[in-house]
């Protein structure tokens, strides 16, 4: 079962940011109601760096959200104090978002995950930055898995995040990310996974971003992805996540599996997905006009 983590409760949002600042519950709780109705499985609470009084804000947001839903929350901030404040008041199993393969993050956050019996996103970011290929991703993942094991965190509570990168500037890395997800079945059976999907379309033309996001989601699902942070108000991508577009799945999966796809016989939408899949696989070189070629 694919799990959607809704990304919308975000301090950067034009409506939600001010509501957080002014401690207005209604806009946040209204949003939560919509996200729940749309079938979100978890909600990401993104406070950004939250340097100033991040702990108070996290406590308030977690309580505000959980007044209207039982869904578990991703506690998403780089401030460990704010994470702990959220863990203290969270009902059910929270997820720390995220712990990267850097000593200072692992040392600060795995003990919290153990103490509060929470899950954690294991982000394959290492001390040398974004990994350069699938093997470096795997090495960082192995380090995180070992650390999580030390702290006796159950494997299903460790959500491996492969780091999705923009195809417009790092096309080869997109293929590495896909490859890495495909490795997880063997190297991390039983573990959960997630990703910040929409980063794949960062820097691409706005009108083409939904197609890139949707297509890459199908591709990662085929490779073994079982969770993603998504726009919980975008019913198109939610439908794709929940397997409601078998027609598009077939096209994308066939292209990925190297099956002969008769491009001439495809409908317009299917053709777009076929071309985009080839491009995201690295079979054709990215340019903003990839659909026109």
């Amino acid at each position: 079962m694919f799990r959607v983590i809704a990304e919308n409760i975000n301090v950067m949002s034009k409506s939600i940011g001010p509501a957080m600042k002014n401690r207005e519950k209604k806009p946040i709780q209204d949003l939560v109601a919509k996200l729940v109705a749309n079938g979100s499985d978890l909600l990401d609470v993104n406070l950004g760096p939250a340097r100033k009084a991040g702990d108070e804000l996290m406590k308030w947001v977690v309580e505000t959200v959980q007044e209207v839903t039982d869904l578990p929350l991703y506690l998403d901030t780089s401030n460990p104090l704010a994470i702990e404040a959220g863990l203290k008041v969270h009902k059910g199993k929270a997820v720390i978002n995220s712990i990267s393969a850097r000593p200072e993050r692992m040392d600060a956050l795995f003990p919290l995950a153990k103490e509060y019996n929470s899950g954690a996103v294991a982000l394959v970011l290492g001390t040398e930055g974004i990994p350069r290929d699938s093997n470096e991703r795997a090495a960082n993942a192995a380090m995180l898995m070992a650390q999580a094991g030390e702290f006796e965190i159950a494997v299903e509570d460790v959500w491996i995040d492969p780091i999705v990168v923009p195809v417009s500037s790092q096309q080869q890395q997109v293929a590495s990310c896909t490859e890495f997800i495909a490795m997880l079945g063997d190297m991390a059976p039983g573990y959960s996974n997630t990703c910040g999907l929409s980063n794949v379309s960062n820097g691409s033309p706005d009108n083409l971003r939904p197609l890139l996001n949707q297509c890459y989601l199908l591709m990662l699902r085929h490779a073994g992805l079982t969770g993603a942070i998504l726009d919980g108000l975008d019913t198109d991508i939610l439908g794709i996540a929940k397997g409601k577009r078998p027609d598009l799945e077939k096209i994308v999966f066939d292209v990925m599996d190297g099956k002969e796809v008769d491009m001439g016989s495809l409908k317009e939408e299917e053709l777009k997905f076929a071309k985009t899949t080839k491009m995201l696989l690295g079979q054709t070189l990215y340019s903003d006009s990839w659909l026109d070629l």
Binding site: S168, S169, T284, L285, Y286, S287, D288, S289, L293
Partner: protein, 314 residues
Amino acid sequence: MGIDIPKRSYSGAIRTITVGKGEKSFAVGGETAYPFYTFEGEFPNAPRFGLNILDIEPEGWAESLLEVYGDVVKDPAAWAKKCVDDFGADIIQISLQGTDPNDKNLSAEHAVEVVKAVAAAIDVPLSVWGTANIEKDTEVLRAVAEAMDGKRLCIGPVQEANHRQIGAAALAYKHIAVASSPIDINLAKQLNVLLGNLGVTDENILIDPTVGGLGYGLEYSYSVMERARMAALSQQDDRLQFPLYCNLGVEVWKTKESKLPDHENNLGEAKPRGILMEAVTATSLLAAGGDIMIMRHPEAMKLAKQLSKEMLAS
């Protein structure tokens, strides 16, 4: 016992582009294998070497450049003629530095006048290069394109932000658009797509991948050019199957190291240092697939040309 050296097979080829008009016009491109892999494919047209002149008297140029050209740097037409007659340049690139709006800001009329004089003085193809200022280049290069109707000049840099205007001028007056992108293979491809959409046909496009000189990003340019060739020849990427135009002289000779006096910072003699920096840059870019090399020092050009010739002969 014989040894069979494994050979790669290629699925694409670089287009052949004819530059200039008349007896001294030449073709570049046509390669069907990676640079200098003569054992794997055809190289019907050797790389071409040009020298770079300015529309105004140069300021702040290295001593060895001023020395080799002498007084002609005060007269673009005489300068161009010397480059052809004395140094054997296959093509002259005139950089319209005087039109830079942040400096002398000379007019489009000035540019047209100088370009006409230079064209009249030489029989080899001419490339006209702007200052990379979007608005000013649009104005100046359009005027030049019109005044030189039908001469098949190379005109650049054609950038994404002014490709419509300059591309349309190249199209209307039958010149070659040199599509310039900032050391990025995806943007290079995209600009070629856009020029195609505008109606610029495939025999009228060259790629300027933007090159860095030795020690100043050369390796990034190398990678982008290498990948462009791989996409063109092995992935049949139609939008990258164009010859590569390398405007390297300006990059090498603007570096600090090319101008430092003799023995400063333990860098040896100035003259051979600058020449070798340019020759080495050219060598690397040739190995990455460069088809037209625009250089500044005749000695450096001679070295690079000799190497290219011997590589293709072997």
